[in-house]
């Protein structure tokens, strides 16, 4: 049985109140950021390198704690989260990176199954869920292959499958298409958008303006650690409207 902190149906999954993150005195990676992300919303996080995109994502999945301010993620205050409570939060937040972070010596199936193993999912149940997930990203036939025998796009699809197999409430993607050519970029982005239409809240950090224009989602532009622009979605997403 999964234990989860109950959040009210309309409660935003991510809320930030005057959040700052500083690694050195007087120098802010993120400065006085206040933000509310609605359930099922799709957000593009953009800005130049060093603008604070990755730091913002790291604060949401509790890789970092804020130097100032408060962050509520799925009803939990990240600033006060003990080390023992972080894993429980991360099981509800899927993360995808530019460099895929797959284990080369494990098969595709084993890589995806990791997210289910950590919660003790029975092997048979885990296998069928992994198969279904791999099928949804079109890689079920490669499940016994190893990551290095796959193309970059395929590896990112595996990483995405691993992030989504546990049905997370939030999906974070840090430059997920940074290593891919334009055709594969669209392929991956379509899969991420598909996850969002099923109700998952998605935040994607990207440099790629063509993607932002193509999908017409809400855009947060960071500059020097602050939110310089918050552009609403051209067409509100289904989840965000609820």
């Amino acid at each position: 049985m999964r234990r989860r902190t109950l959040t009210a149906a309309g409660e935003p999954p991510v809320r930030m109140y005057h959040v700052s993150k500083s690694y050195m005195a007087g120098q802010y990676a993120l400065h006085d950021v206040s933000l509310e992300v609605r359930r099922g919303e799709f957000i593009f996080l953009t800005g130049a390198s060093g603008a604070g995109k990755t730091t913002l994502l790291e604060l949401i999945f509790a890789e970092e704690t804020p130097s100032e301010g408060q962050i509520l993620v799925l009803g939990r205050n990240v600033a006060r989260l003990g080390a023992g409570a972080i894993p429980a939060l991360r099981r509800r937040v899927g993360v995808v990176f530019q460099d895929f972070k797959l284990l080369a010596e494990r098969t595709i199936e084993e890589n995806v199954r990791l997210a289910l193993d950590v919660v003790g999912t029975p092997r048979r149940d885990a296998r069928s869920r992994v198969f279904a997930m791999l099928k949804s990203v079109g890689l079920q036939h490669r499940r016994f292959h190893h990551p290095l025998s796959l193309s970059g796009g395929e590896q990112q699809r595996v990483a995405l499958a691993r992030a989504l197999v546990n049905e997370p409430e939030i999906l974070l993607a840090d430059e997920p298409t940074g290593n891919l050519d334009p055709e594969l970029t669209i392929e991956i982005m379509d899969l991420i958008v598909k996850a969002s239409t099923r109700g998952t809240t998605v935040i994607v950090a990207t440099h790629d303006h063509s993607l932002i224009e193509r999908y017409g989602k809400r855009v947060l532009r960071l500059e020097g650690g602050r939110i310089a622009e918050d552009i609403p979605a051209a067409t509100p997403t289904a989840g965000a409207m609820a």
């Binding site: 894993p87 099981r91 284990l103 990791l114 997210a115 193993d117 919660v119 092997r123």
Partner: protein, 299 residues
């Protein structure tokens, strides 16, 4: 419950995967534990056998109270009872004048030496055997004081130097073994911890990904602890085999040497319980090494 069983099955699978994936590092850990346990085990076996030999000598330690010539049989019986109740006394054996003469003749190889004498010059005596805990100089001094001046006792004889030497030898051997075991144990712990730390470093990518997908500390740590236990068990078994082999190989030569010097050589290997303890000690060492590495590495 089934979730817990699944987590245990996954932890076992992960630890097997860890060992298979880092065979060289695992072998290093097994070998390190083996070497240390061979040293600790050999020292312990040596001390055990030395203590055994010393204890056998200790059992022969005795005081002799020579009696005056005119002590009546009733007084002799009372003396035996009295001395038996003294502190540190295990048992008392009465040796009559006649028995003393027989022993002397056996020792001297005939009766010629005393043939010219009209009467038996040897006194009756009490052979006082000591309890193991009283085989030291302090206890003997207390006993000495308790028997001093008892009517009927002419002289009390004991090998004080021998007794002190025996006590010191036993203490030194035991203290030496304890210090050696502690030093070797600590060295083993650090080496095993470092070996496991190397394994952790080699698998840092996996640990990072596990943390990302929400693995608890226990989920990450338990397979490493299982690896430590498994490596320790193997190391312990290997050490036991090596010590047994060396013991069997060296036994004939050592036995001959000891018989020549001491006139006896009752040597023994570990009992079953001691053998199991050595293997369990290996497992404990492996587990402790893993915990040290995990805590030190803040995993």
């Amino acid at each position: 419950m089934s979730r817990v069983l699944n987590l245990i099955a996954i932890a076992i699978a992960n630890s097997v995967r860890g060992i298979r994936g880092a065979t060289t590092t695992s072998l290093m850990a097994v070998l390190t534990i083996s070497i240390v346990l061979v040293l600790v085990g050999s020292a312990s076996l040596l001390v055990d056998n030395m203590t055994g030999i010393l204890d056998e000598f200790g059992a022969e330690l005795q005081l002799v109270a020579y009696l005056e010539n005119d002590v009546s049989k009733q007084a002799q019986r009372e003396l035996v009872e009295h001395v038996s109740a003294a502190p540190g006394v295990d048992r008392v054996e009465f040796v009559s004048k006649d028995e003393a003469l027989v022993r002397f003749e056996e020792l001297a190889g005939g009766a010629e030496l005393l043939a010219g004498l009209d009467e038996n010059p040897l006194p009756a005596s009490l052979e006082i055997h000591l309890r193991p805990e009283a085989r030291n100089a302090d206890a003997i001094a207390i006993l000495d004081a308790a028997l001093d001046g008892l009517p009927g006792i002419d002289e009390l004889a004991h090998g004080q130097e021998w007794i002190e030497g025996y006590g010191q030898a036993v203490s030194m051997v035991r203290a030496g073994a304890l210090v050696l075991s502690m030093v070797l144990g600590l060295a083993a712990l650090l080496i095993v911890a470092n070996t496991i730390r190397l394994a952790l470093y080699a698998r840092r990518d996996e640990l990072e990904i596990l943390a990302l997908v929400g693995a608890s500390r226990t989920f990450v740590r338990v397979p490493f602890m299982m690896e430590g236990i498994f490596q320790g068990l193997l190391g312990g078994l290997f050490a036991l085999l090596l010590i047994y082999g060396a013991f069997e190989l060296a036994l004939p030569q050592v036995r001959i040497g000891l018989e020549l010097v001491l006139g006896r050589a009752d040597l023994h290997f570990f009992s079953t319980a001691e053998s199991i303890s050595l293997v369990v000690l290996g497992a404990g060492l492996g587990l402790l090494g893993a915990i040290t590495a995990l805590v030190g590495g803040r995993t």
